[in-house]
Structures are given as structure tokens and as C-alpha cells.
Amino acid sequence: MPQVTLTVNGKQHTVDVEGRTLLVELLREKLRLTGTHVGCDTSQCGACVVHIDGNSVKSCTTLAVMCQGANVTTIEGLAKPDGTLHPMQEAFREYHALQCGFCTPGMVMSAVDLVAKNPQGLSEKEIREGLEGNLCRCTGYHNIVKAIAAAQDVMHGKRSTVAAAAE
């Protein structure tokens, strides 16, 4: 049985896998990191998005054996060790950008990468286009788009808090 050594959320693991084992299966079943979800079989929904070496990747279409030596971050590893939420997590809460929570981990991981790769800032239209690979059935995306817009300002140092304007 093949063995793969990878770093997940800062911790190194060596795991026995089958050749067909997917990264998401390794995360969920071997490491019990069940925050990363599987929502479809066809790489459409994005519930499984994690970061590999800083890039957002659909872990349902990544073989575990491809991740030898990789540095993987999952939703469980996004907040600071002291529990301080990432601005994207904060913004999702502040703008009610999640309902059932199932797409949320993948949505947040995609959004973090989308914003990080676009330091020039994204318009509403660009955020919507950037979310093409993630499906949400609950929110209609309205609040997700708002949350990402607020989080990018914090991530790019343009404001200090994601807090919504006075209501």
C-alpha cells in the first residue's frame, strides 16, 4: 500500500493510502478532519476546496498520492491557533453568508484564495465570477458576495474590521 507524507494545518502526517484514495478521503477518514465536505462527484460544487501550497484545490479530484510533501490547509487550519478567526470567517459570520454550513468550508477556502490572488481588489461582478466553482443552495450568494467584499478590504489592509455598517 502506498504511503504519503504531507503537512496538514502545520502538522506532518504519514498515512497509508490506496492508489485510488482521494485527498478528501485522506482528510476526512484518516485524519478525521471532517470540515472538508463532499457535495458532488463531478468537481462542480466546491464543498471540498482546501489549499495545497497556497492554492485552492478541489480535494475530491486530487489523489492523496499526488500530495507527497505538500502543505495542505483545511478549514480547520484557517483560524489562528488562539482561535482568532480569519477575516474571511469573520466576514461570513458578520454578513450571514452561511445557512446550513455545508458548502461553507469550501466557499471560505475558495474566497480566501480568490482575494489573496487579487490584491488589486475585486468588483462585485468579479467576485461572482470568481465563485463559479462553488455552489451554495441556501443563500443565493447575495451575502457571500458581500462578505467577500468586506473581507478583501481587511485582507488588503484597507479597513481594520469586517463589521457591517450601522444598521
Binding site: 490506496e18 485510488r20 476526512r28 478525521r32 478532519l33 471532517t34 470540515g35 472538508t36 465536505h37 463532499v38 457535495g39 458532488c40 462527484d41 463531478t42 462542480q44 460544487c45 464543498a47 483545511t74 478549514i75 480547520e76 484557517l78 483560524a79 478567526l85 470567517q89 461570513f92 459570520r93 458578520e94 450571514h96 452561511l98 445557512q99 446550513c100 454550513g101 455545508f102 458548502c103 461553507t104 468550508p105 471560505v108 462585485e124 461582478k125 467576485i127 461572482r128 465570477e129 465563485l131 463559479e132 462553488n134 455552489l135 451554495c136 443552495r137 441556501c138 443563500t139 443565493g140 450568494y141 447575495h142 451575502n143 457571500i144 458576495v145 444598521e167
Partner: protein
Amino acid sequence: MNAVAPFEGIGVRMRRKEDLRFLSGKGSYTDDMSRPNQTHCVFLRSPHAHAAIRSVDTAAAAAMPGVVRIFTGADYAADKLGGVPCGWLIHNKDGSPMNEPPHPVLAHGKVRYVGDAVAMVIAETREAARDAAEKIVVDYDVLPAVAGINEALAAGAPQLHEAAPRNICYDWHIGEKGPVDVAFAAAHKIVTLDLTNNRLIPNAMEPRAAIGEYDAHSGEYTLHTTSQNPHVIRLLMGAFVLNIPEHKLRIVAPDVGGGFGSKIFHYIEEAAVTWAAPKVGRPIKWTADRTEAFMTDAHGRDHISTARLALDKDGKFLALHVQTKANLGAYLSTFATSVPTYLYATLLAGTYTTPAIYAEVTSVFTNTVPVDAYRGAGRPEATFLLERLVDVAARETGIDRVEIRRRNFIKPDQFPYQTPVALQYDSGNYFATLDAALASSDWAGFEARRAEAAKRGKLRGIGISTYLEACGIAPSAVAGALGARAGLYEVGAIRVHPTGSVTVLTGTHSHGQGHETTFAQLVADQLGVPFDKVDVVHGDTSKIPFGMGTYGSRSLPVGGTALVKAMDKIIAKAKRIAAHLLEADVADIEFDPRAGAFKVAGTDRSKAWGEIALTAYVPHNYPIEELEPGLDETAYYDPKNFTFPGGCHIAEVEIDPDTGHVAMINFTAVDDVGRVINPMIVEGQVQGGVAQGIGQALLEACVYDAQGQLLSGSMMDYTMPRADDLAPVSVATHTTLCTHNPLGVKGCGEVGAIGSPPAVINAVVDALRDHGVRHLDMPATPAKIWSIINTRMAAE
């Protein structure tokens, strides 16, 4: 309990309690759970829409590595247990009961849709189970199949069930035909419209899952399942399928990743893993993959209708006659029969004073996945029919489409309003929601925007829908008289702990709605306890006294009211304790939730909540002869009536004539959902519902071929709305209070999906007004619109 603390009660946009766990990956969905020593189950499913099963050979599969057991339909049949029951008995026009063919847990003798379960393979891993399932040899005698409604009703059509001649489940009607015929005979104008309501696949993002377990020592079964109503599953599966008494059957529905109706129903997989668990002696886990979800989650809608509206010379509606044929799929899902009847035709008065309405509904079996409630369930179908018909009537009478609605609205002083189709609306103000939506969408300024778009070569349209819905089916006695086989009350328990914190137990279930927040706010408001000191528990039959679950936007109007009733009991008891401590008459005790204190009226003598709670559990100075210790109350609430949210939705679209693509430009919703507990959550519910409605109107279509093969069987084939398909949704509320529940709440979960589809299609038809389009069935895809534009241009 601190008077200067920020107000955390009704009306505040409290951020959700649920979010921290979901945002940190700490949610606990069924598939996230692993039970000790569990096995994994895969169902072998029929590739044929209709076939006789000659034989099932499992020998090679059973010899595969890691296989624990394999069960077939014959094994299940040998135990002489039940099939999955239907929860609503409908009667035919002649009073006879509907045809109710059995719905087996594992197909035996015959398969009736692609996805029908033929065998279950239990193995050490999911992969091993999957590998083994491929080795099962099923000898099928493939039979002619039928997928469409009209095809199923045609002479000589393939027959699905011996117990359902001509594939008919029932032929039902509501209203009085006589007055309708009289009105049509005298009508100034008759408008007729044929339309379909497209079949949809719910696609909650979390696929269904179930884990069945059996404890041989206690004799207790436990089922973890992705359900919107665990107690209903316990009742149906325990009493009707597996003969397990309630005290030996625990159902847990933990975090559930969206439902939209599709997780109401008792599915065969739940029964199968529970049934097999004691035979295997280990827990059995099953998780659907998305393909399986497409093939087995109950689908929604799928109606074909003809509607006729009679009008007088002033455009007043005189009568409505509707004939609908509904597809129920291959078997009766739990509430399938009620959706095209009591949840549909009773809504055909809408917001209008139409004095005579008669509706006939024929429901048919086809070789497709069972069809049942999907967000709105019957009410979107009624609303689409009515709001399209009104728009066509406006055009054909030459009366402005807003004006014709105003002329026919039920007026604010006409409530309570009795419709000719059974319902009595308690409150509403359709003029107010209309006016607010017209203003918010700048309806008056639209023609300028149309002209501006035309300069860019785009076809711009605006559409309106003034809808009504009915939530929280009730009362139980009435529903029972109409065929419901369950009660429709809700249960709430309030447990005040000795130090004053509160646990709330509710029989409703939250799978995205945020009840942990809304209900905590409600309790904080009514009891004056800090929001952070209130936790809400739901979804476990071993913790919650009882419940009917969450569907039909009932959680707040029915479940929330049960909590209010329980809190009333808590406050009444707390007042007696306070009276004792304060040496006052109980009649003189006043409770001030803002101060979190009980005081003697007209004095400054008071007792804080904390002291009352502690006294209830440490009853040293206590009226023990007349009052039991403790502060823990339960209430069952059976509503007097439905609640009736309503409102106005306005869609603005722009069509690119070169591609036929419809761009959503703007969507305005003004809804009357009664009193709002948390505006943030209500807006989110409406936005999400509208997205599903836009999906139905523009993108989503479940497609079967003539042989019953599901062509739209993955997210690559079925168009789920994505972020860039949608536009911002402006949401506002205008409140009239429900008159028959203490909070005045109506429910908000479905309004978005109910009001929006006709608004979008009315906008598309408006955009195409110069292209000879009278009506367009959903979804209004680019291909459909491009061919309308180009066929016409070619003809010219």
C-alpha cells in the same frame, strides 16, 4: 439580567450561534460521524426504468474481499415487514380512496425507476462495498417504461402498479363547479392558458446519509439520518415499516446540510440500514453520492395545467377553472399526495377576490423518482399558474398589469377572508406590499431603462408577482379530516436551570434556518435571560419530548408558538415562587423581562430571575405544599389556522438577442411574513428562496428521456444557480400580524421560492413583447429564447 445590556430580543440582527462551528469545520453532519466498528453500505440500483427482476445472483459479490453481508429484496420480503408508507390519504371525486400501491424498501419482483434499490452490500469499507456491488448479477426482463404525465395517461401506456389502473393515483377536485360554469357562461372575457411547472431536483448541498445501529443488550435501535423531522421518521419507520416501538428507537438528525423539503420524507435507505443492523451486529453507514442523490432524492413540481379565467368588463375576476395533471413518480413518497392537492389548489384564490374557483387534479405514476414537496410544495405551482394567468389576462383585456391586480385584490378591511377553496386568510395588506415593491424597484422609471437597453441592443423586461402562501398546515383536526395521517402541532420545552441559564428543546429541526439563534432570541426576549445563556437543542428523539419537524415554513409560527406557551407556564410558575419569596399575592407580581425581575406591583420590591430559578431547585424557602420544585415546562401547540404570508416580487431582466441569454438585473421582494424576530435571518431566507425561484425560472430542469433514463443526472447536466447567474436581491418586509398566534408571526422559509418564478417569467415575456410571445414555460433557457427570437426574425 442586566438592564443595561444590549437588547438581544425580537427584532435584533443577532449574529448566529451556529456559525462558529460551521466556519471552523466543526459542524457535525451525519457523514462526519463514525460509529465504533461500523460497516459501510452501498445500494445496487436499477439501471432500468421498468423491469421485472428474474433473479439476483450475489454469490460472486459475497466472495469479494471485505464484504460482510448482502441483502436483496427477497431477504427483506422474507421478514414480512412493511413498505414505506404515504402520510396523506386523498379521496377521488367519487369519494373513494386513492390508489396506494406498496413502496417496498428493497425492490422485489420489479423495479420501477432508474435508481430503485435492488440490493444492499455491506462491507468493511465503502470502496469494498462498491466493488462488490458491481459483481452482483441481476437478470432483468426490461419492460416498456413511461416518464411523462401525458404518456402515462395515454391508452395502452405501460402500467406501473396492479393497484393503480391507468397509472392513476387519484382524480380529485376542490371547489364548486356549478357557480364556476355559471360565471363562465356570463363572462365578458375568458382567458385560457396552458402551462407546465418544470420538474426540479432539490439538490441540498449535503447528500443524504444514514447510520443504523442496534444494541443487543438494550434492544435499542439508533438511526442517525439527514432528516428535517426525526420524530416523524421514528413514527413512520417504527410503527409502519419495521415494527419497532418508540421507546426502542432513537432517531438523531444532527447538523443537516440543507433540506428544502427533500429531507422530510422517510426514505428506504433509512429503513434498510436500521433493519439490517441487528442482522450484521455492527453499525451500518450509508452516504449518498451526488449521482445517487439525483436518482433517489424526491424531486419536485412536475405539473401540466390548463387554467381558464372569466372576467367581467372591468377586469374583475369572476371565476377560475383549473385542470392539473401531476407526476408522482414511481411510488408514493411520504407527503407526495398532499402536494398537488391541499397544498396547491387551496392556494388558487391567491391575493384575489375571485368568487368561484373549481380545480381538478389527476395524479399519475410514472417510471421516475418519486416526486414530493420541494421548497414551497404546491404553492409555487399555484402561484406560477395564477400570476402568469393574470399577466396574460392583463394583456388580453388591455388593462395595466398592476392595475388589474389592484382591482382584484382582497382589501385590508375584508379580513378574515374566506376563499372558495377552503382557506380563510386572517390578515394581509397586498396593496402595501405592492406599493412598496413598485417604489423600491422604480417601476415607474422602467420604460426609460427599457429604452436605454434597446440602444445597447438588449431586450429589457420587468415582471411582477403578487403572491400569497399558506404556512404551518393546521389545525390537526382539519388536516386529519382532509386525509393527513399525522398531527400538525409542535412541541416546545423550556428548561430553566438552577443558575438561570436556559435549555430550549424544540420538535422543529434546523438545517440552515438558524433556529439556534432565532429561538434563543425569542427566549431572551420573553424571559429576559441573556442570549448567551440560552441554548437550543433539536434533532434527537431521545432528548426532545416529541415533534413534527420543519417544513412548510412552520418552525416559528408553530414551533415558536409552542415555546411561547411553555414560557407562559414558566413565567406563571416563577410568579408563584416570587410571590412566596416576596410575601405578596401572586396577582400583584409583575414580570419585567427587560429588567429580568419579578416585582410587586407599585413597589420597588423585586426578585431577580437568578434567585427565582435557584429557589425552584433549592426549595428551602418554598411553597412546597402547593407547588412542585423545578422550573421546566413543556407545551404542545396545535394552531387554529394556517398563517398567510404574502407580498410582491418584481424581477428585472435583460435579454441578449444574439445569444438568448437572460441576465438578472434586479430583484425586489417585499414580503409580509408577520412579526420578524431576526431581520438578518429573514432576509437570508428570502434571498435563498428567490435564488431557487430564479433557478426554476431560468436554469433548472429535470429531464428524463422517453425510456425513463435521467438525462440531467449530475451537476454537469442539471444547471444549479451559480453566483454569476444571479443578481443582488433587495429584500424588505411589510408586516401585518398573524391574528391567531401570540407572536403574530407567519413564516418566511418559502416566500422567496413561491413568489419569484412568475415574476421572472413575466419579466422575460415582457422583454419579448415585440416577439409575439404570449407565454413561456420554465426554464427560460438561452436556447429556447434564441429560437423564439430567431424563428420570428426568419419568418419576417
